[in-house]
Amino acid sequence: MNALDIKEINMKYQDISGEIDAITDVSFSIKKGEFLSLVGPSGCGKSTLLSIVSGLLKQSGGEVLIDGEKVEGVSSKIGYMLQKDNLLEWRTIYGNVILGLEIRGELNAESRSYADELLKTYGLYEFKDKYPAQLSGGMRQRAALIRTLVTKPDILLLDEAFSALDYQTRLAVGDDVYRIIKKENKTVLMVTHDIPEAISMSDRIVVLTKRPAVIKAIHEINFENLKERTPLECRKQESFSSYFNDIWKELDVHV
């Protein structure tokens, strides 16, 4: 069974100045444990699609199935990470990490100890009483990931989750987050502008056209000769650049 089915999703934004067709008939599925990336020109409707999948936005047509079931509103099976870490400056790292649990009313001894465990595993335990302003960009992003993971989502949605970081941190955090996601065996739907990032992390890449978004192509990404796949290792493979060239052509960027 698929973890996520996106069926003929349509989205029209209504606005005083008119109607904006953001997405037309986009359908694809993600298998359990799969890492799928969406790439497409700026403004083509990628964030809109993620907002629909997360339940924050109501689609104009089509349906979203999670584990084969239709969902309405925000599902607890989904964790959504935004571009900025959005850590609350007035809360400690620990206070930030448990925010989602607090909102869902799931704060108890068990979930607290899970939060501690995640903080320990991912190297933030000594910082749990510090404030976000005292952490580096990479650490903040990791804290934001833990805030999402601690609510035990099956599916993670990442919307340009690394693009606020500088290039080197971004590579390192990407590697880091990839390992965490694989270890926790999550299904991922990621949106990115960064083609190399998509190739280095994904099992499949969906290329969208410009607005209104339609699927242009789907690429299977395979690095067979890698024993243990990590984003940084992928970048060193020969086939990496051929994937890049294919996708780059499809994106059809004119300056």
């Binding site: 924050l56 607890s76 959005n86 609350l88 925010l99 909102i103 404030y131 005292q134 609510t151």
Partner: protein, 274 residues
């Protein structure tokens, strides 16, 4: 972040020079400020003594001091107490009502749109003009004075807070919504705490405005308080009393402001640990 003080031995020569320079500058400014005050007071006293100015109209530092020393004969303490009490009540009511109203307006977009023109007009209306109406409605007593303080400070608080609430970072709110947060949770966990700074800024303005309202109210109602003393002193040509009251008023205003600042430090201590 400031990481502990270095001991003087391991400071470089240049650093020491810089710190000395900063200190000189700081004390230099302070001494000039004090000197100006002393010069002004001395000039006032001497010109009054020499008859260059008429101390009947301008009063005179030594006579103001005498008035202070005769605290009990003027019931000064009682008047200070009353003014402070009225200001605090007006201030607290303004803050509490203002926060409640701003929250309601944040909650309902429609309500806020409907009330917008009224708020704008009320905000620009000189509230002192409402004085006679207030006296007729609630009587010429402490109540009228408190209502006056409230009238002056309330709308500003509402507008200031509402503006802060509405400007809360959209992405942060979206983040809370991804966890399924409802409106009450968004308010209590994100919007309100994100606006602590706005709240205290408006409190600082508010305490001053409340005092303005109270003095204006006391001018009108004229029963007790520093505002009453000032009006009374003026009527009986006791300029010493007027001047003494004005100086006390300045001190009270400074102390009340300081009170809010200390409150802010206590409440926001966490945020200062950046």
């Amino acid at each position: 972040m400031y990481k502990g003080k270095k001991t003087p031995e391991n400071l470089s020569e240049e650093r020491k020079k810089y710190l000395r320079h900063i200190a000189y500058k700081k004390y230099g400014i302070l001494s000039v400020q004090i000197l100006i005050l002393i010069f002004f007071i001395t000039l006032w006293e001497i010109s009054a003594n020499l008859g260059l100015i008429d101390s009947f109209i301008t009063s005179q530092p030594s006579r103001i001091v005498d008035t202070f020393l005769n605290l009990t004969s003027n019931d000064l303490l009682m008047h200070i107490g009353i003014t402070c009490f009225e200001t605090m009540v007006g201030f607290l009511l303004g803050v509490i009502l203002g926060t409640i109203l701003a929250t309601l307006l944040w909650w309902s977009d429609t309500l806020s749109k409907i009330s917008e023109p009224y708020l704008v007009i009320l905000n620009s209306l000189p509230k002192i003009a409402l004085g006679p109406v207030i006296i007729i409605w609630v009587g010429a007593g402490v109540k009228a004075i408190i209502v006056m303080a409230l009238a002056i400070s309330l709308i500003v608080t509402v507008l200031e807070l509402l503006n802060g609430f509405l400007q809360t970072d959209k992405e942060t709110i979206k983040m809370a919504r991804t966890f399924g947060a409802n409106k009450a949770q968004i308010f209590s966990k994100i919007v309100f705490p994100a606006n602590m700074e706005t709240l205290f800024n408006s409190l600082k303005i508010n305490i001053g405005l409340s005092l303005v309202g109270v003095i204006a109210g006391e001018f009108l109602v004229s029963k007790a308080g520093l505002g009453y003393l000032i009006v009374y002193g003026g009527q009986v040509f006791q300029l010493d009393l007027v001047m003494a009251s004005v100086i006390i008023l300045a001190i009270v205003a400074a102390l009340l402001y300081e009170f809010v600042r200390i409150l802010e430090k206590i409440v926001c201590r966490k945020n200062f640990r950046k």
